[in-house]
Amino acid sequence: MKIYRSMVLISSDPKSMLYGAEEVFQRFQKEIEDRGLQDEVQVSMVGDLGRHEVHPIVIVYPEAVLYGPVKVENVPQIVEEHLYKGRIVPELQLSAQELSGRIAWLTARKGTLPAEQRIVLERAGVIDPANIEDYILHDGYAALGKVLTSMKPEEVIAEVQKSGLKGRGGAGFPTGLKWSFVAKAPGTKKYVICNADESEPGTFKDRVILEGDPHAILEAMAIAGYAVGADEGYIYVRGEYALAQERLAIAIAQAKEYGFLGKNIFGTEFNFEIHVHSGAGAYICGEETALIESIEGKRGEPRARPPYPTTHGLWGKPTLVNNVETLANIPPILRNGAEWYRKFGTPSSPGTKVYTILGNVNNTGLIEVPMGITLREVIAIYGRGMKNGRTFKLAQTGGSSGSVIPASLQDTPMDFESYNKAGVSLGSGALLICDEDTCVVDLAKVLMNFFRRESCGKCTPCRIGTYRAYQILQRISEGQGVLKDLDELLSLSENLVNLSNCGLGQTAATPIKDILKYFRAEVEAHIRLGVCPTGVCTMLPEKTPQET
C-alpha cells in the first residue's frame, strides 16, 4: 500500500459537480503529474462535505487546509505553492467567517470552533470513498475481522444490545433487540436490508454517509448478516442518489476482490453477498414493508403488520431492515466495544446523531453531535444564529412527519427519551428552523400537500384524509375558512392516527396537531380576521395542484 505525503480531497456532491469539481480534479491530476508529484500526492474526489454554500471545496491534508470555492484556474497556484513549495495560499482559503462546525476534521480545530463528535461520519470527507485501502487504513474491516474470528453471533448481538443503539431511521427501535428477533426467527434463509431510501424532506444524512464512506455500510451489513444468520443483503437506494449508487457498486466490487464479501470471508465459513437496488421515486418505499414489496418488483404498498419483516420479510423470509446511519454505528461499536460507545450521548440514548440543519439560519448543512444537546445550541453554534437577525419562531424536527415545536421547547435535550416525554419526535434528524416570517397555515398546507401526493392510496383514511386536510388548509389560506374547520382538522387527525395502515398516514397529522396546539391563535386569525398575520397567505383562491 502506498503512503502519500499529501492528500487533496475535492468535494463531489451534486452541487460541486455542477460547479466544476470534475474539471478541478482533472486539473489537479495534470498539474501534479507535470511536476512529478504523483507518487507523493494523492488526489481524490470525496462525497458531500456537508457544506452547502461553497462549491467545490478542496481540502489538503495533512495540514487540513480548506480552499474554496476552487476554480480550475486556481489549481496551478495551489499545486505550485502548497504542494510543491509547502506554502499555504491564503487568498484561496475559505475565510474564517465561513468556517463552521460542520466538516469532518473540525476536532482538529478545537479551541477556535465548537467540535463535533464524529462516529458515523468519522471518515466521510476524510478518505477517498472509491479506494478500499484508504478505508482499511482508517480502521476499515477491522470490526468485521474481529467479529468473524473471535465472536459468536450471539455475542455480537449482545454487544449491540449493550451499546444501547436505537434505530436512526425514524422510529428509534432498539437495534440489538431487532437483531435478536431475526436471529431467533425460524428458517435458514434470511436477509439483511439497508434502508437507504431516504426521501424524508430535509434529510440527506444517509446520502453523505453512502457517498463519503460506502465501505462502512458494507462492513456493517456483513456483521449484521453474521449476527442474524443471513448470507445475502440488499441496499435499497433512493433513485435520485446516482452518485451513492455508483460509489456502492465500486465498493462492493473492491470488497469482493479483497475477500470482505463473497465466500469464506476472512477465511471463515461465513459467506455474504450484497446487491444494490435502486428506488424509482416513491417516498412510501422508505417504509420497510413497502420497500420489500418494491424489491420484489411490485408497487411499493405497505403490507399489513403483523407479521413483521423480522419473521416474514423479503420473499417471506426473516429479514433485518436497518437504516444507513444505524448501520454506520455498528463497526465502531464492535471495534471499540459497547462501553466505549456509551460514553457518548445520554444514558438512555447513547451515541451521536447526525442532523441536517435547514431553513432560516446562517449556516445550513449537516452535523454529527452527541445525543442530548439542545436545539438552541444547534442553532446558535452550528447554524451560526438566525439569518438576518430574525427571531426564532418554530422548528420542525424529523422531517415532514415530524413535530412542530415552539421556542419554549428549544432547551429540551435532543434524545429519544426527553423528546418522547415532551411529545416531540426526533424522526430522521432533519431540523427545519423557521423565523417569524413563517406562516403556520402555509407551512401546514405545504406539509399536507406532501402527504397527499405521497400517500400510496391503499387505505381510504390516508388517501382521502390527507387530501381533505390539504383542502381545508388551502381554504383557510385563501381566507375562506370557518372555525368549524379546525374541529374537522382535529377529527381528521384522529382518524389518520387511528385508522391508517402504516406510519405515513399515522404521522401525517403530527404537524397539524402541533400547530393547533401551539399556534392556534394564528390559525384563527386567518379565519376570524381574514388576514395572514405574517403576510404570507394570499387570501386569494389558488388552483389546487393536480395529481402528478
Partner: protein, 159 residues
C-alpha cells in the same frame, strides 16, 4: 402510434435490450422500466405491453407498477423536464416565489408540457439537497439557492 422516437430510437428494441441486460425476473421489473424510461424518455403503452409479454407478468400489473413510481413516466414529456422541489425546507427559504416565476415564464402548470413540447414542469418532493434550497433540476443539471430573478437566465441555457 409509431414506435420510433424523433431521435430514431425504437421502443421495442429498447425494451428487448433492457430485458436482456437485467434478466426476465419479476425482481428486475422496476430496473427494466427505469432503463426504458432513461433510454426513451418515457414508457409508451406499447413498451409496457412488450415488457409484460417478455416477463410474463399480467399487463395490468406492469401498468400499475409503472404509474406508481414518480421517476417513471408513462406519457410523453417535453424535451426538457424541470423538477421543482415543493417540500417544506425549500419552501421556507423562498420556494414559493421561485415556483410562481417558473409558472409565469413557462405559462404552464404542474404536470403540464408546453405546446411546443420544449418543457415539462413537474413538482417533486425533496431531492435530498435541501441545504441549498430552493432547488430545481433540469434534465441532469441541479440548481440550488435559486431566486426568481435567476429563472429566465437558467431557462435560456436550454434550446
Amino acid at each position: 402510434m409509431s414506435n420510433e422516437q424523433p431521435n430514431g430510437k425504437n421502443i421495442l428494441e429498447i425494451v428487448r435490450h433492457a430485458v436482456e441486460v437485467h434478466g426476465k425476473t419479476r425482481e428486475e421489473l422496476i430496473p427494466i422500466l427505469q432503463e426504458i424510461n432513461r433510454q426513451y424518455g418515457f414508457i409508451p403503452s406499447q413498451g409496457l405491453e412488450e415488457v409484460a409479454r417478455l416477463l410474463q407478468i399480467p399487463k395490468s400489473q406492469v401498468f400499475s407498477v409503472a404509474t406508481f413510481y414518480h421517476m417513471l413516466n408513462v406519457k410523453e414529456m417535453g424535451r426538457h423536464i424541470i423538477l421543482f422541489c415543493e417540500s417544506a425546507p425549500c419552501h421556507v427559504v423562498g420556494g414559493r416565489e421561485v415556483w410562481r416565476r417558473l409558472k409565469q415564464e413557462l405559462k404552464i402548470d404542474a404536470g403540464e408540457t408546453t405546446p411546443d413540447k420544449k418543457w415539462s414542469l413537474v413538482t417533486v418532493s425533496c431531492l435530498g439537497v435541501c441545504g441549498v434550497g430552493p432547488v430545481i433540476v433540469i434534465d441532469e443539471d441541479m440548481y440550488g439557492n435559486v431566486t426568481p430573478e435567476m429563472i429566465p437566465d437558467i431557462l435560456a441555457r436550454y434550446n
